[in-house]
């Protein structure tokens, strides 16, 4: 179904050496634009942090995206152990706004080992591992991505060898989030929420873009950059005269957002499901995606009035239900979302009130 071109982008080995040179160039250009001499900045940072360890410039300057108000975000990987919560420290260097957070080398290696384990697992275990990451380990997932992509002030990228693993895990997690948003979009459409569905559609689209970008090795967690990174990617393909139906599918969804927000579009579900399925197929290792909606087993349902009850959970999730609980949904393929009726739209309220669960599974999937 997918053309070979997309498969080549998404499944080719990421050339770390080429990327390291590009990123070193991005950092050099950025520092020059700010009138910052790298050696002087290194000396100043070392005075604060000590001589040992690896000091990495991260985030937008590395990706060639920094603008006049961008911060200089550093991560310091030190030899000694660190106790307690890690919160960034702000430093002001003249008009420049710097932030730095430190991790021990052992923590960083542990994060990379976790990343490798996740990359070898099923899509479900990748998503579960990414979802629980921040509650269980330092550095957090965003900071792990920053470390992998980080560049020293002398222009080396010491952790870029982990980009291939990071790419696989991040792409899978982004695709999962995109599918979640598309399910919410379908339910919102069934509920007659014509503007609300576009809120979900826009985020679903952004995560589809990020899934593709991440799988090509352009991994950068911050959502505000997804659309610009995508634009850069799509324009480059266009300038090179390369065409691909999957990219054109995402571009077509992008073109449709404004009309949808004006309410002048019919159902969005089928086109989003088609493009999401194409991205999943092209990424490989995802398998057949199915969704299921289940009621939260912990919720209590108490009678309120004839034909109405209260659904309570954790003393906080209260929801008035009329006409009883909605019919269960799934397991079903994504294409089944196009057939949702108004009766099933109640699931959206249950999900928002945290009294139902959306399960996304990928049968027949495995590590690539």
């Amino acid at each position: 179904m997918m053309p070979s071109l997309a498969r080549e982008w998404l499944q080719s080995e990421i050339r770390a050496s080429d990327l390291a040179a590009t990123r070193a160039g991005n950092v050099e250009t950025f520092l020059a634009s700010r009138g910052i001499e790298p050696e002087r900045l290194e000396r100043d940072m070392r005075r604060r942090l000590g001589r040992a360890g690896t000091l990495l410039l991260t985030s937008s300057p590395v990706h060639g995206l920094a603008n006049e108000t961008s911060d200089l975000d550093f991560i310091h990987v030190q030899d000694d152990a660190i106790e307690g919560e890690r919160i960034s420290t702000k430093v002001f260097d003249g008009t420049h706004h710097l932030e730095v957070v430190s991790f021990s080398g052992e923590e960083v290696e542990s994060a990379f080992a976790h990343l490798r384990r996740l990359a070898q697992g099923s899509p479900e275990s990748i998503v579960a591992g990414v979802t629980s990451w921040d509650a269980l380990r330092e550095p957090r997932r965003k900071q792990t991505e920053r470390i992998v992509n980080g560049v020293t002030l002398s222009g080396s990228a010491p952790y870029l060898e982990h980009l291939g693993t990071l790419s696989r895990v991040w792409a899978c997690a982004s695709l999962h989030t995109a599918i979640e948003q598309i399910v919410y979009m379908a339910l919102a459409e069934a509920a007659g929420e014509l503007r609300g569905r576009v809120g979900y559609a826009v985020n679903g689209l952004l995560y589809l873009m990020d899934a593709v970008l991440s799988r090509t090795g352009d991994v950068y967690t911050t959502r505000k950059w997804y659309l610009l990174r995508w634009n850069r990617f799509a324009r480059t393909l266009q300038q090179n005269g390369e065409r691909d139906p999957m990219v054109e599918g995402i571009e077509s969804l992008r073109d449709g957002v404004t009309c949808a927000l004006r309410g002048s579009r019919g159902s969005l579900v089928l086109e989003y499901v088609t493009v999401a399925s194409a991205v999943a197929a092209a990424m490989g290792g995802i398998g057949r995606t199915q969704i299921e909606l289940t009621l939260d087993a912990d919720a209590r349902i108490l009678p309120f009035l004839p034909h109405a009850s209260l659904r309570l959970r954790d003393a906080a999730g209260a929801l008035v239900e009329t006409g009883g609980s909605p019919q269960p949904i799934g397991p079903m393929d994504l294409s089944g979302l196009a057939g949702l009726g108004h009766d099933q739209s109640a699931w959206l309220r249950l999900l928002r009130a945290d009294t139902a669960r959306l399960l996304i599974s990928h049968s027949g999937a495995g590590a690539e």
């Binding site: 919102a188 609300g196 826009v202 952004l206 995508w230 957002v257 906080a316």
Partner: protein
Amino acid sequence: MIRLFPEIQAGLPRDEKSSVEQWVIVAWLMAAEGRAYAEDLRGGGAQPQMQQAAKLRLLEVLSDVDTRLSGRRAPADPHCLALALEYGLHHLIDASGTELIDVFGLGEEFGGESCEVAGVLSLWESLVRAFPGVLPDRLVAQGQRDMLRTFRTWADLCRSVGLDVGLLGRYLKDA
């Protein structure tokens, strides 16, 4: 003209613990996340696609703040944008979904080569001016001292109603 902070103007009584907790979190979200996205809008003139995404993120933050000001639990992040567009905001500002689309300039081509930011920046600046008290600006050097002083005040405030200012921990890490 969009009405600002109807929740304050209405003067409705609230449980003291939840009042302290919600106002401290709201002030932090405005000072940290809201201000950062406003900064992105000001500094990203040559990056319209980033500005468009930053506008959506700012609307999600304001939607979260709006729900907290109502005294309810904030919805999970995936729902904030859809809820704002469909049902509007009613506690931070009083604006319908269509008014928000106008103010945030969301009618432009998504991913196109321009981004309208005047309306949303004007709204943001009005919200900062009308906020009950002066929000510290952690993006400038002087703001660091103001932020530390504010944390000390919030620690006392939380303690006075039996709360721990550590409730801000996860929000600080997210910033």
